[in-house]
């Protein structure tokens, strides 16, 4: 290597600001603590207010009471009923979500690939999309029984449209130059799909999953509300029919926590996969 070659190598090394900062929002640790503290304070204040209201202003028969709900949650945990109800709801939601991706991504690809297919299917797609899918729940239970299948289909029917639309948008936004680059090297369609198209929709798939987690939970719970013998939806429904407001609130709290946890899990994997790459 000549002197100039070496100079070339040393001149454009990694820019310092990009070398060691994987996270984009690196707020100070101090601020993070303050935010966390404020959150806990807000939650405690809200719960305290609720508790006070149920003791002095309103009948807990109607609005529940945090201390009762906490007690119920504890009971559900130690009797293992929590696990018993959480598992079917989460697995059905996850299965519906997975099915949506397996089915939705190829359909989205097809839409983006062929202008003809897109134009033919568009009104049908919009028509199906416009049906409030919740209204289909009784039909699904009629068709698929009160087992897990009807809940999975319910979740699927809510999420699959999100996946299709996101895949479609993702493909349309693909950097044309990357495709031209591979075409200029005579790469096959399959190779371009593998190297450019599929990787470039990964952020869109993750966006679908983030939205889809909540929707899939809704689907599974709605299915359980209408016909099931276990699951969080069933627990809420069953409590309500016995006018057990504490039970209803306990079910809702569990659903909220489950939803938040699932979101955090998705975020964790998203960051692992996307880091530095997108």
């Amino acid at each position: 290597m000549s002197a100039i070659d070496r100079a070339a190598v040393s001149l454009d090394t990694v820019p310092a600001d990009r070398a060691h900062s994987p996270t984009q929002h690196q707020t100070g640790a101090r601020e993070q603590w303050q935010v966390a503290l404020a959150r806990v304070a807000l939650a405690l204040a809200a719960i305290a207010l609720w508790e006070a209201a149920s003791r002095w202003f309103a009948d807990p028969f109607w609005i529940g009471r945090p201390s009762d709900i906490a007690q119920r949650l504890w009971q559900l945990t130690i009797t293992n009923q929590l696990f018993w109800h959480v598992v079917p709801t989460v697995t059905q939601a996850a299965a519906g979500l997975a099915l949506s991706i397996v089915v939705g991504v190829p359909i989205g690809l097809l839409f983006a690939y062929s202008r003809f297919v897109e134009r033919v299917l568009e009104p049908f797609f919009l028509g199906l999309y416009s049906i409030p899918r919740i209204a289909l729940a009784p039909l699904f239970i009629l068709w698929f029984g009160i087992g897990p299948a009807s809940k999975i289909i319910m979740a699927f029917s809510l999420v699959v449209f999100v996946v299709i639309l996101n895949t479609y948008e993702g493909i349309r936004g693909v950097d044309r130059e990357l495709i031209d680059m591979l075409r200029s090297m005579r790469a096959s369609h399959g190779y371009i799909l593998r190297k450019v198209l599929l990787p470039s929709i990964v952020p869109w798939i993750f966006a679908s999953i983030r939205v889809g987690v909540g929707l899939a939970l809704i689907g599974a719970v709605v299915g359980e509300l209408l016909g099931a013998n276990r699951g969080l939806g069933w627990y809420v429904e069953n409590s309500a029919s016995r006018v057990d407001v504490t039970g209803v609130f306990a079910g809702l709290v569990i659903l909220m926590v489950v939803g938040m946890l699932l979101n955090e899990i998705v975020k964790f994997f998203e960051q692992r996969v996307m880091r530095n790459r997108y």
Partner: protein, 282 residues
């Protein structure tokens, strides 16, 4: 320009040589639907192993010519031949280097360079050089595992250069490959390119709007005028090789070439898209 006669101005339509040219454009015109021509009646020949630069104001159809040679776009009229064969689809002989590096952001430098090798072997062609040697060649040995995001513009262009070297085409089409780099990096990349070109000796078509870059690198400079893009003049650059881009700029003849090309571009009737003298590095 008084110095012009000594500058070996080539006649606009060079006489056909005996050997089959690597690339030949005959009466090529391009319009994008409608009556406005993007490129009008361009005739151009590139010999095997020649380093040809095309300069001209932005929007003069330089890049379009490259895409036509590469089969990514079709001319409206005229013929493009590669080694005597008309270009129908993307020919196997060419490799294209883009102004933006066109690296896959989700692949490491090594994986990006491997794409060139994979595409070469998919065509049952003898791949160029092993990947480690390529990384060494473009000065990225230590950065094979890095993602493009973590690299500077110069390093990314090096990786793109590594990829096209891995693909090992016989004809390199380079569309302002260093246009987005700062002046220093641009010089150094030119230096690297010449070093690698000297080693492999393949034909290069190098599109740029930087006249000094064109003169310092090439054997021949084609000057295009804008809208519609036509070839205005050609200069055979008879500066000694091997060249160091910084050293070659000290040779008096270098500046006579540059001045002559400036004058050609500035003498255009419509200068709305022209380059002004204070914009040497646009």
């Amino acid at each position: 320009m008084s110095a012009a006669p000594s500058l070996h101005l080539v006649s606009p339509a060079p006489a056909a040589k005996q050997a089959v040219p690597a690339v030949e454009l005959a009466a090529v015109s391009v319009d994008y639907g409608g009556s406005v021509l993007a490129v009008a009646d361009v005739a151009l020949q590139l010999a095997e192993g020649e380093f040809l630069a095309i300069v001209g104001p932005s929007g003069c159809g330089k890049s379009t010519l490259l895409k036509i040679i590469c089969g990514l776009e079709r001319p409206s009229r005229g013929v493009v031949r590669l080694r005597g064969q008309p270009v129908e689809r993307v020919p196997a002989e060419v490799g294209f280097m883009f102004q933006r590096d066109a690296l896959l952001p989700w692949a490491t430098v090594r994986e990006n360079i491997a794409i060139g090798l994979e595409c070469a072997s998919a065509q049952k062609r003898e791949p160029g050089v092993a990947i480690d040697e390529l990384l060494e060649l473009v000065g990225l040995s230590r950065f094979g595992g890095f993602y493009p995001r973590a690299l500077s513009g110069g390093m990314r262009q090096r990786a793109a250069l590594g990829r096209i070297l891995a693909y090992a085409p016989d004809i390199y089409l380079m569309d302002e490959p260093f246009g987005a780099l700062d002046a220093q990096t641009k010089l150094l990349m030119g230096q690297e390119l010449l070093r690698i070109w000297a080693r492999f000796g393949k034909a290069v078509v190098f599109v740029t709007h930087d006249i000094e870059e064109a003169v310092s690198l090439s054997d021949r400079v084609v000057v295009m005028s804008g809208r519609p893009g036509t070839i205005k003049s050609e200069y055979r650059i008879e500066l000694p090789r091997p060249r160091l881009p910084r050293e070659v700029r000290k040779i008096p003849n270098f500046h006579r070439y540059v001045d002559a090309i400036w004058n050609d571009i500035m003498s255009e009737p419509d200068r709305s898209h022209g380059i002004s003298p204070d914009q040497t590095q646009v």
